[in-house]
């Protein structure tokens, strides 16, 4: 039998075990030799959020980590303070990780009357900043989150880069 007629015959036959095995091995080769870059899905989700909100993205202008001393009876294991800015807007956020593993987010913004939204992977909650510009979220699950500042007066919302809780 010539190779082309053999190819024709093979091509017309239904998928058999070898076909399935080859597809499975091709899939395995792709996964192991050409995997998606780490963090791709998170970067895409962030880009989609920015697009959906038509938001401006704030820059991280300062970040410092505070680690609690092991034996001291502090309420947190570690804390991070981050300052964001976009144009004349700025915000300072402190993230404390409690002993139970969940996060506390305290923040301050220098202008009152702003609604602050915390976006977790599958949920979001919004609180108004108080008269002093302070806001607080407790019991935040570990993971990657963003804060969105909804300003009044026709300003575009401002979203922070990813924060790790």
């Amino acid at each position: 039998m010539t190779s082309s007629s053999r190819e024709d015959q093979l091509a017309m036959e239904p998928m058999d075990a070898l076909d399935e095995e080859l597809l499975a091995r091709i899939h395995h080769l792709h996964l192991t030799r050409d995997p998606m870059p780490d963090g791709l899905v998170d970067r895409i989700s962030f880009a989609m959020t920015v697009a959906a909100l038509e938001a401006d993205v704030a820059q991280t202008v300062a970040e410092s980590g505070l680690t609690a001393a092991g034996a001291r009876s502090t309420s947190y294991d570690r804390a991070t303070r981050v300052t964001f800015a976009h144009g004349d807007f700025s915000a300072m956020v402190t993230i404390d990780i409690g002993r139970d593993g969940s996060g506390d987010v305290h923040g301050w913004i220098p202008e009152p009357g702003i609604d602050v939204e915390l976006r977790e992977r599958s949920r979001a909650q919004t609180v108004p900043a108080d008269g002093d510009g302070r806001f607080h979220f407790s019991g935040v699950e570990r993971g990657l989150v963003h804060l969105v500042f909804h300003r009044h007066g026709g300003h575009r919302p401002i979203i922070t880069p990813t924060l790790e809780i």
Partner: protein, 194 residues
């Protein structure tokens, strides 16, 4: 493909997520991105893009989905829309970066779809042989097999629209591609079916 079987999972997932998103509930968007991005990544890579360009293209497709959420005629077409957008965008990018005038994706010269792969240390000889023969297939075959291999239960309608290939010809094309692969493997003394 059996109607109503899990075969349509991705298409249904995408349809439901976009429908809910249009109504203001975007909670399902995250799962959609998590589950469909690997497929889009494979489509972009199979189009010959390097990893950075492939990432940009996939991200662009998702951002366009958000921007066009209300313009997509039917949420049922969301998966197809994503695949088509990714493939078109990948084609545009690969055309620009190669400075080649091409009239259709199939007319592009055979490019290295995954240069990093060849540099990887080949640990398993059988896989290396298989990879080499896969890479010798036509671009269309490589793309189709990549997408079929990726999706446990491929959605033929979405693949048909993404590849501009009638649904009825996906099966025969798959059969032809696999037949070519099997014959070339058979002819290679280094190929040992493990």
């Amino acid at each position: 493909m059996t109607p109503g079987a899990p075969a349509k999972d991705l298409a249904v997932l995408a349809a439901d997520a976009l429908s809910a998103h249009r109504l203001g509930d975007s909670r399902a968007m995250g799962e959609m991105v998590t589950r469909i991005t690997p497929l889009l990544w494979r489509v972009a890579r199979a189009q010959g893009l390097d990893p950075q360009a492939a990432e940009d293209v996939v991200q662009t497709a998702w951002v366009r989905l958000v921007e066009s959420a209300d313009a997509i005629a039917s949420p049922q077409a969301t998966l197809s829309w994503l695949l088509v957008t990714t493939r078109r965008e990948a084609w545009n990018v690969s055309r620009k970066t190669r400075h080649v005038v091409a009239t259709s994706p199939e007319d592009l010269p055979e490019a290295d779809p995954a240069p990093a792969v060849e540099e990887a240390v080949v640990a398993e000889a059988g896989n290396a042989v298989l990879w080499r023969h896969v890479r010798d297939l036509s671009r269309t075959c490589q793309q189709l097999l990549a997408v079929l291999a990726q999706a446990a239960k491929p959605d033929y309608r979405a693949i048909s629209e993404a590849f501009g290939m009638p649904i009825g010809s996906i099966g025969p094309t798959r059969g032809r591609c696999l037949a070519k692969l099997r014959l070339s493997l058979e002819a290679d003394p280094e190929w040992v079916r493990s």
